[in-house]
Symmetry: C2
Subunit: 206 residues, 2 copies
């Protein structure tokens, strides 16, 4: 595509670097900004710049936070003996929205993925092990996504815990609430039968 202006071309290029946004969408977004009051562009640019330069990560769980210790870690009502290991802060938000979990989190910042060149040293695994070695954590819940990378990461951390007195568990895999059995894939259906739970438990969750 030929752009009438270098400034436009540059803006389109930068916006199209975002995931899932191609050149055409980028052009549409940029032209939209041009039609809006100048203040909207200023606010947008300032918001993302400020986020990038001023953002803090909780020194304990690596969740995004405006303070040294995030709200969850700083909350004395939460159960500090229970730690849920998640991939990124979106997972923290998803679990928090269920209002079912009262423990703390540990955000890894990704999953081990040799294909993408992400090794254990790129994730917040060492601080997790250190935290567990301090001895206040009783149970570690793995809540990574159920993919090859997620399973690898779970197993890597599990191996690091050898000799340390801590219970490990993973979130239950099974048929989603509201799903029809006939459309479930075999692996999920198989696991949901193997890992069946007492009927009384299934009533408690609602």
């Amino acid at each position: 595509m030929e752009y009438a202006s270098k400034l436009l071309e540059n803006a389109v290029y930068e916006v199209s670097q975002l995931p899932g946004i191609g050149k055409r969408t980028a052009l549409r977004l940029v032209l939209h900004l041009l039609k809006q009051p100048e203040q909207q562009t200023t606010l947008l640019a300032e918001a993302i710049l400020k986020l990038r330069t001023e953002i803090n990560f909780c020194s304990s769980c690596y969740n995004i936070s405006d303070t040294e210790l995030c709200e969850i870690c700083a909350n004395p009502k939460r159960d500090a003996s229970l730690v849920c290991v998640v991939e990124d802060i979106r997972d923290v938000m998803a679990i928090e929205n269920t209002s079912q979990y009262q423990g703390l989190y540990h955000v890894l910042g990704g999953k081990i993925s040799p294909m993408e060149g992400i090794g254990p040293q790129d994730l917040n695994i060492v601080p997790l092990i250190t935290k567990i070695k301090e001895g206040n954590i009783k149970e570690l819940i793995f809540a990574l996504s159920s993919t090859m990378e997620g399973d690898t990461t779970n197993f890597y951390i599990y191996k690091q815990l050898e000799g340390i007195d801590v219970t490990t568990s993973t979130i239950a895999r099974g048929i989603a609430v509201g799903d029809e059995l006939e459309y479930a894939d075999e692996v999920t259906l198989g696991r949901s039968i193997l890992n069946r739970v007492p009927f009384e438990n299934s009533m408690k969750a609602n």
Copy 2:
């Protein structure tokens, strides 16, 4: 949704103001920026800010331009007696990509749309009429999209031209090249029969 940080919430809010981007997509984009080197966010913010504050519009055709007169208007090889009326600069780019047009453009900046509160005074119509009254333009080609708003805008401009010696035309509507007849809608098919062209002409275009 509850955000762990005000900075994050703010950035997500601003990004979700863009058309077609909801809160979830905005969060995904913002978290992506956080994972990238800080420089990428700086470049993005600078590019859109610079675009908004430094952009110029061609003083003749209202196309985006880095100079007073855009490249197309300043090109002496283009036919200045032919002006194509388009909605926005994306249409200029689309027509330029065909390499079939050698005249100039006039960018209206939108279409008359009472529903969205856009009247003739919000568009670059007055400068267009002034330009035509100067007498150097022989033909005006309407290339707005074939919607109620586009047709209204075409008709409004057409009415303003009463008593001025200028030929008006619209781009041909018809079956798209490569399309199957049986899937074409009736209005388009009907128009394409009414406005049939000599067979020799259809061969020239290729």
